[in-house]
């Protein structure tokens, strides 16, 4: 018993060490969206390219699509743009949600980098609609919506080639094939 007590501080040290070491490799931003497996919220937002045209939730539903939150102010959005173009080329409909941006800047962004989006919604600063209801707290963020309008996958961060090939495309195919 006495021997054991002598080792107690060492054992505590090892336990705390393991705990803290594990913390080093954990990503605090990697947490599930509260919207996962919940319906896409109702919304009414204008199109980016035409403020007179309003889009609602029902306009988007019907097939599996990706909803990509972006802004010309967001450096990581430039990084993932090629991957969005690639997925669009593979036939995945990607709806853009232009977030806290200004129209002229957004137009310039799309003109320079190419436009992979089937359509873009416009939610500028001061408007709290779809992006707020989706719990978006930065850009880029990407949601996968199934045919019934349920959020099936969420990524807060940059889409990388590996993520496209190993996670996002398999998820898209899975929900496209779901009956």
């Amino acid at each position: 018993m006495k021997r054991f007590l002598l080792f107690l501080p060492f054992i505590l040290f090892v336990l705390v060490g393991v705990f803290l070491y594990k913390g080093l490799s954990m990503d605090p931003a990697a947490r599930d969206s509260a919207l996962l497996n919940k319906p896409l919220p109702e919304f009414t937002l204008p199109r980016l390219d035409n403020e007179a045209l309003l889009v609602t939730r029902d306009d988007l539903l019907g097939e599996v699509f990706l909803l990509n939150v972006w802004g010309s102010w967001c450096p990581s959005c430039y990084d993932e743009h090629d991957e969005i173009l690639r997925m669009a080329q593979m036939g995945v409909p990607v709806v853009g949600l232009n977030y806290k941006d200004e129209r002229p800047k957004a137009f310039r962004y799309l003109a320079q980098l190419g436009n992979p989006y089937v359509l873009n919604l416009y939610e500028p600063d001061g408007v709290r609609a779809l992006a707020f209801d989706l719990g978006v707290y930065g850009a880029p963020e990407t949601f996968l919506i199934d045919r019934e309008g349920i959020v099936r996958y969420h990524l807060a961060g940059v889409i990388t080639p590996q993520l496209v090939d190993q996670v996002i495309m398999p998820e898209v195919r899975k929900w496209q094939n779901a009956r």
């Binding site: 605090p28 947490r31 599930d32 969206s33 509260a34 919207l35 806290k100 600063d125 709290r128 707020f132 209801d133 989706l134 719990g135 978006v136 707290y137 930065g138």
Partner: protein, 171 residues
């Protein structure tokens, strides 16, 4: 030069403070203003990980403050406000997470550790005083009878000592 740089740096530090103070909310009642402050302090900014939404300057915290203001003015209860925010940003934003089987460790480990620590200190202290009792009684105050005994012994010693010196002198 160095002084000037320092002043400049200090002025830069003040910028955040000045910016945070600009927002103005027109509360319909004093109660709503107080609730805004307390609820805002309970909601964690989803972007910045360890700031409440009233502390943070991030755009998402700003949006949440705006929305919190709107909800309070519309008469939402505290519970309804939390549900509203949780439905969007998840449990992450609750500074006080619910007590559930997977949060037991979070809630109960600290008090358990405090109690265990106090117990350890208590046991160690008792063991030390037990040991003291075995080896010598010197640390403990004497009881009246013991005191008499000890006094007796000292007087005895004194007497015998003085008697020997006396005998030396006389011889």
């Amino acid at each position: 030069m160095a002084k000037r740089t320092l002043i400049l740096l200090l002025a830069l530090l003040l910028m955040g403070v000045a910016q945070a103070a600009i927002e103005v909310y027109d509360f319909s009642s004093e109660e709503n203003r107080l609730r805004f402050q307390s609820l805002g302090g309970e909601l964690r900014c989803p972007k910045c990980e360890n700031q409440s939404i009233v502390d943070s300057n991030s755009p998402s915290a700003y949006d949440m403050r705006q929305e919190l203001f709107r909800l309070l003015e519309e008469g939402y209860t505290d519970q309804q406000v939390f549900e509203f925010m949780k439905a969007r940003f998840g449990e992450f934003i609750m500074y006080r997470p619910p007590v559930r089987s997977d949060t037991w460790l979070l809630w109960f480990l600290p008090p358990v550790l405090v109690v265990a620590g106090l117990l350890l200190v208590f046991l160690l202290a008792r063991r030390r005083s037990d040991k003291g009792k075995d080896e010598t009684t010197a640390d403990r105050p004497l009881s009246p009878s013991e005191r008499q005994l000890r006094l007796q012994q000292i007087l005895e010693l004194e007497r015998s000592a003085s008697s020997t010196t006396n005998s030396k002198e006389s011889s």
